[in-house]
Structures are given as structure tokens and as C-alpha cells.
Amino acid sequence: MFVISDEMKITEKIVEMKGTDRLKRGFAKMCKGGVIMDVVNGEQAKIAEDAGAVSVMALEAVPADIRAKGGVARMADPQKIKEIMDAVTIPVMAKCRIGHFAEAQILEALGVDMIDESEVLTPADEEDHIDKRKFTIPFVCGARNLGEALRRINEGAAMIRTKGEPGTGNVVEAVRHMKLMNREIAELKKMSEKQLKEKAKEYRVPLELVKETRDLGRLPVVNFAAGGISTPSDSSLMMQLGADGIFVGSGIFKSKNPKAYAKAIVEATMHYDDPKILAKVSEGLGEPMEGIDTSKMDEKQKMQIRGTD
């Protein structure tokens, strides 16, 4: 590790700023076009890194297992997170419960590179999300629509991802959320000043943020797809719908051949608009993870309904 001594800091008097919006959003931008993979130990993390993942999400269990197990799902054991951080050189993310700022403080102290304030874990606060501006490290949050996304950005999220429906291996909910967000952003373009004010009120965010989104024609932060993506073609689909990158939760390590799936999804994310390459990387991968038909799910079983305010 390179060390700058205190003596140098004093004599040179150069101010270094940490934890700025630019650094947080910048980190998220460096993940663009890449795949972030859920892992539960160092060995899986290494497989992800070797396959070309841009980052790994350190977890106690993948969403499919969390769903099957039931009960209260919490932040992973710090020992587990440290094991994963030691195993790879790429950034490591970890999840905390919605509103659980103490878990987030612990994750920041551990030195994870980004925190996912995630509906996959059992929410800790039904009223408020974490005030993410108080932290030096960046946060990613899930959203089903533009209102949720802008509220999270207003709280300081540096990256948004669709919620989809985690642990189902079914991409339909992620598609729904991405298309809805795109549509709602497109609608802003046609709105009068008065209508924009009403939208800002409805979304409970400052008017400037709504206008910024309208002017950009996209979210002001990176927007990834997550929740049910389990094959190379799922990844291509989400990228073609406008995602900046991909989270794969259970899809890799619940498949029959994690190494092959991991590599194929990385390549599919880069070549998302080249069907010939997609055909090649999809070949002979073996069985994907088993899926769940989300239309037959009880509303209460859905993780996406958590933390919508």
C-alpha cells in the first residue's frame, strides 16, 4: 500500500476532498457496462472476478435462499464480508436493511466500496430510508418507478437499480420497472411548468431534480437492472431497454454451471446488441436457475413492495 505521511500533508497544504457527490456518482459510473454478482464466500468472489465481474455483492445467502428460508434477513456477518474483500481486488459491495443506518455505519467502517440499501433484506424502518448524504461511501437503492428513484437520489443514492423481483430468476418485474421509469421520464418532456411542479409534489422531491431529469432525458445517476436476471439474454434485454449495467443475484451461483454463466453474462452485457455473439455465448451453458412465476406469487411475498415511500 502506498502511504502519504502526515508531514507531507502539512508542508504541501493541498486540500483533498472525500465523499463528494462527484466521487460517489463517479464510482458508480466506473461500473457502467459491467456485471455486479452476488457471492456468499471468497471462492465465489474469485470466480466472479475471473469471469470479468466489475464488482461483487457480499452476502450471507443469495436472494433465492433468503426467500426460501424466510425469517428476518439482515446485513452479512462482518467476518464474511472481510473474507470476500480479501479474496478479490475488484470493488466489494454489501447490503444493509432499508433504514438501518447502524448497519450502514458498520459496512462503511469495514471499508466496503458501496452499500446497497436493499429490499432483499427485511426493512428496519417503515417510514424513512437512510440519509445517505451523511456517508463517505456511495449507496445504491432499488426503485420500481421514477418517484421512488428520485426520492432515493434526493436522499443521496449514487446509483439506482430496478427492484425487479429478487430471487425468482424471472426478469418480468425488472422489465416492468425499467419500462415504467423510461416512460415516466419521457412524459416529463411534454409537461408544463405547472405540471412539473405537481409531479415534484407527487414524487416528494425538489422541482430542480425533476427538471434535471427532464433535461438529461435520463436519471441523473447511473441506472442498473436488477431482480430476476439469470441468463445472458436477460442481460441483453435489460441493456437494450436502457440499463447502464447489470446485477445478477441468484442467477449465477444457483445455475448448474456458475463459471460458464458468469463469463457468458459478462460477455452478453458488453455485446448486448449483437445477436450473433449472444447466440455464441448462450450455447451449452447447462441449466439456468429454477425460476418462479411472479404472477402466481402472493403480493405479500414480493420483496419489491418494501421501502417504496
Binding site: I14, R22, F27, A53, T89, G111, M270
Partner: protein, 199 residues
């Protein structure tokens, strides 16, 4: 003149936009292009290797064949700008992390790089740095999980420093930076590179 940005992963659109703005200000009627395949390299006059994850970019540059082709084109004098991960890949020598991840460096510059040398994201920082080559006004340099250039030799020369660390190096047609000029609105470095391409 056609400048390309290696578009396999990372902050690609940021470089394309910065190059386009810089060319507009320099009154050059051209647009930067996304290089997604080895054949896209055929008719370009300058290339940017952006920031992102060096391990990911490296693997995808190898599978697409861009890795080999960029080495060939560099020998023919193609101007190259590498930022952060891009700078790492340009180096001849790396550290333990580079060995551990089986990263294959392009090896185009006589320098040794250390990955994530300032620490993790919590240690990422921005600071005003002095770069005499682009003028007296300080440049806002953004360091994200940045590498450090430990040393240079041969024809590779120090181009910029922050405190006691080397943050920019140049060798004839190649410029490597450990920070992200594409994340600020200051276009001086992109303009400097465009002028390298025009020479």
C-alpha cells in the same frame, strides 16, 4: 481525424462527450466514436482507454482482439490516452494485484503501476493539481480507487504529480493519467490529447 473510445466497460460516454465538446470548442468538425470491436480500430487516428474495472476491460479487450491490435497500432504511432484503469493497462510492470488477477498488460509504457494504491472507495478523493503542460490554472483531478505510478524509466517521462506521487506520464504518442478528466467540465486535457492526435 477520428478519435475512438474503447467501449467494452466503464466511463465510456463521459469520454465521448468530453471529446465532442473539446472538438467543438477547437472548431474541429468531427465526432468521437465508440470502439466496440477490433475492426472499429481500423480507421481511427487516436484512441482513449477509459476508466472502469481494469480486470474486466482487460478480459474483454483480449476476447475481442483489441488488445493485440492496439499494441500493433501503437507501434505505428497511434496516439493513446489511458485514464485510471486505462493507465494501468498501458504499463509494462504491475503489482501483486495484477499478477493475482492474471491481468495481461499492454506494456506500452516504461512504468510500474500499483492498483488501488490509495485504498478503497472510502479513500477516493478529489484535489486541485498543477499540470504546467496545460497552463497555470490548477486542474481538478478526481481519483477513484486510483492507481499510483511508482516509477518510470526509458522514454516514459513524468507529466504530472500530486504531492509526491506520479499521477500522469507521457511517452511520445501515449499519455497515461491515474485520475479522471472525463468527470469534470475542464476540457484542457482532452484538448491536449486532441492536439497530440492532430500532430
Amino acid at each position: 481525424m477520428k478519435i475512438g473510445v474503447v467501449a467494452v466497460q466503464g466511463a465510456v460516454s463521459e469520454h465521448v462527450e468530453a471529446l465532442n465538446k473539446a472538438m467543438e470548442e477547437l472548431k474541429i468538425d468531427e465526432k468521437a466514436v465508440y470502439v466496440r470491436d477490433v475492426k472499429d480500430l481500423n480507421d481511427i487516428s487516436g484512441i482513449v482507454i477509459p476508466g472502469g474495472e481494469s480486470t474486466t476491460i482487460n478480459r474483454l479487450m483480449l476476447t475481442t482482439g483489441m488488445h493485440e491490435r492496439i499494441i500493433e497500432l501503437s507501434e505505428e504511432g497511434l496516439p493513446i490516452l489511458g485514464t485510471c484503469a486505462g493507465a494501468i493497462l498501458l504499463a509494462k510492470e504491475g503489482d501483486e494485484q495484477i499478477k493475482q488477477t492474471n491481468t495481461v498488460l499492454l506494456g506500452l509504457m516504461d512504468m510500474k503501476v500499483l492498483r488501488n494504491a490509495y485504498g478503497r472507495q472510502v479513500d477516493s478523493f478529489e484535489a486541485d493539481v498543477k499540470i504546467p503542460e496545460i497552463g497555470n490554472k490548477p486542474f481538478r483531478a478526481v481519483f477513484i480507487r486510483a492507481p499510483v505510478i511508482e516509477r518510470v524509466w526509458g522514454n516514459t517521462k513524468v507529466w504530472a504529480k500530486h504531492k509526491n506521487t506520479i499521477i500522469g506520464v507521457k511517452k511520445e504518442n501515449i499519455l497515461a493519467l491515474t485520475f479522471h478528466p472525463e468527470l469534470t467540465n475542464d476540457l484542457r486535457i482532452h484538448k491536449y490529447f486532441i492536439k497530440m492526435v492532430m500532430k
